[in-house]
């Protein structure tokens, strides 16, 4: 993704988080991104292209939230707990706007089948990568355990966003769940 596209879409994410999808207006994106009027309209000629661009960028940023600055997550229970815990912290703090935008888009996807199909492609990419990681970290039931962890993390972020636990330690929480799943070194 080019820098300009990313810059515009990040501004779009913030607008959706603050004002819902109706806040996603090209001229507002220009203003928030600090670029010349008309730039967003030029890059994303239709509303559909802009909404899909924002959804796509949310997935890309979520990948970054899991992997952090390191390109590789260590394939061990601690490595997975660390990566998912870091994801939770970022989702609640620095990347809060990505999280909020995602709920807005998710509700929209439930009403608009065209967006749903698109969102599916991105979600599949995340799944393949994470499934492999969980397997290498010692899970004997990668499908089940990945499903469990992915849903657990999503639910944790969802609950913590509305009702924050003081001094939440998400790495320890995720590690605790993995402990119950009894992974063993491959």
């Amino acid at each position: 993704m080019s820098n300009l596209r990313a810059q515009l879409l990040d501004a779009g994410i913030e607008l959706v988080a603050d004002h819902g999808l109706e806040g996603l207006v090209p001229c507002e994106v220009d203003r928030r991104a600090g670029v010349t009027d008309g730039t967003t309209q030029e890059c994303f000629p239709t509303r559909q292209a802009l909404v899909e661009g924002v959804a796509d960028r949310c997935i890309e940023r979520e990948m970054q939230m899991v992997a952090g600055d390191r390109p590789e997550v260590e394939a061990s229970p601690d490595g997975v707990a660390d990566a998912l815990g870091r994801f939770v912290l970022r989702a609640l703090d620095d990347d809060r706007s990505v999280t909020l935008s995602r709920y807005v888009l998710q509700a929209e996807a439930a009403r608009t089948p065209a967006l749903r199909a698109f969102y599916g492609v991105g979600a599949d990419n995340v799944d393949t990568w994470a499934l492999d990681l969980v397997r290498r970290a010692g899970s004997r039931h990668p499908e089940r355990d990945f499903g469990l962890l992915a849903n657990y993390v999503t639910g944790l972020v969802f609950h913590e966003l509305a009702l924050p636990t003081p001094d939440l330690d998400p790495v320890a929480r995720v590690r605790d769940v993995i402990g119950a799943l009894q992974w063993s070194a491959p």
Partner: protein
Amino acid sequence: MTDRRTLLLDAALELVGTQGMRGLTHRAVDAAAGLPPGSTSNHFRTREALVLGIVERFVVRERAMATGPRDEVDPTPEGVAAAFGRFVDRALGPDRMVTLARYAILVETAQHPELRSGMASGADQVDTWALDLVTRAGSPDPQRDLGVLANYVTGLVLHELALPSQDLDAAARIRSVVDSLGWTRVTGS
């Protein structure tokens, strides 16, 4: 028989689910409930009071989604899986509007922390009930396991809403989560 306050709150829930928070006005709730103008204002003076009323109503609606008409759950792994499975099926099907309204309210709560206390007391009521159930069903670590199940169910609904699986068997999925947690059957008494 449903009282007028409940009727208004269910209409408000439906409105928020269909249109998001911007659809929530006192006048729109009157119309959706089929009641005379001013009915909603009589029960809920401010928009905040109305939102808190909806949050309160979630507790009752969500519990009914889990227990079904019998209003009780067998304290066994099968009973817990069936209850949470029923919750997922209803959250994605007949009570879809409750689910969508919940997302909208969540975003609103994240933006307006003054709504948190109402949300917290609702969450406490649900937790007390569910913690007791999970304990009686044989969990060795009820706090952890309720966290796992509650977060799992929320995540599953969120994912399935956008990307439905063909022939989802939610109860079976939840059963496999329960099985992975090593519950032991409580015997006697």
